[in-house]
Amino acid sequence: MRARKSDPTFDLNLAPVLDIMVTVIPMLLLSVAFVQIRMIETPVPQVVAEKINSQDQHPRVSVNLKVSKQDGFQLTVFDNGQRKDFKVGLKQGQLDFDGLTNVAAQVKRQYADVFKLELAPTQTVVFDDIVKTMDSVRRMPANVEKVTITDTKTGQKVQTDLLFPDVVFANVVGD
């Protein structure tokens, strides 16, 4: 008796898949972005937002950061009339952003409730350095212990790695 043979392989019809690809690819090509734009406005947790609002209403402590290509960074804290200066000099002739982060973290430990920083770059500082400065004072380094703040509504303690995310230009209207 002759056994009936059937072919176990078959050709998959890929033509409809190709049709879909040809339709979808031009649509995606129109909306493709080779550069992703972001905006400097850091979202902060609710507790931190409340702290920033309460600080705006009762500005007991203010933190000011001067940026100069000649002298580096100068972080000044005004605490009820008392002035404390922290300086970060240049490192190999360049602004020391890592040094700034460490100093900002040190200041943050003393003033955990303060999230606002007044930035005052000098005329010659370029925009790139301003953005790097903002990045340096936004968050603590990963290996540094977070600071603890107290939620004014619930009284619970919350840990945050945010340093000074609320940056405003202090010298827009002049020095």
Partner: protein, 172 residues
């Protein structure tokens, strides 16, 4: 050629129809599709990098919002892609600055003020539109703060006091 010869020739020769091998083409399209989906953007801000306009890179992760766009390149100042000021040697010309107030750029103020008034007028009859004073500034990373300060100062006087800075995403 006799009939049997003709028949054997017809049997030996290739069929007149054939299948195109599209598997490799589909493979290629899948790779392109994955790349395009990864680069797909629904952001309201899309700029093409040019020699005169390179945004600084930042670790910030906030998506830009659709507000008035002000561009400060090495060549000049543009408001919504309309050129307002031309730069000379990478900086503002003296004639563009106010003699009494060296931070004030009169031409930019005029354009911004017109825009602000237009939005305020529309918002009087359209409740869904409100003038919020927000402006997105795209500036070249090599520009000095002295130029940006003047731009921000003028924007502030025109009512756009909430200046937001556009930057490139770090991990893209």
């Amino acid at each position: 050629m006799n009939n049997s010869g003709m028949r054997s020739y017809m049997e030996r020769r290739l069929p007149s129809s054939f299948k195109i091998q599209i598997t490799s083409m589909v493979d290629m399209f899948v790779i392109i599709l994955v790349f395009l989906i990864k680069s797909y953007s629904t952001s309201p801000i899309n700029i093409q990098p040019t020699q005169d306009m390179t945004l600084p890179v930042s670790s910030v992760d906030a998506d830009p919002i659709d507000v008035v766009k002000l561009m400060v390149s090495k060549k000049g100042i543009f408001l919504e892609e309309k050129k307002v000021i031309d730069f000379e040697n990478g900086g503002l010309m003296k004639k563009d600055l106010d003699t009494n107030d060296p931070l004030f750029i009169a031409a930019l103020f005029k354009e911004l003020d017109t825009k602000a008034k237009m939005v305020k007028d529309i918002s009087k009859v359209n409740d869904t539109l409100e003038f919020d004073g927000k402006i997105l500034m795209q500036a070249d990373k090599d520009l000095a703060y002295s130029i940006l300060q003047k731009v921000m100062y003028t924007s502030m006087l025109a009512g756009y006091s909430d200046v937001k800075l556009a930057v490139n995403a770090k991990d893209f």
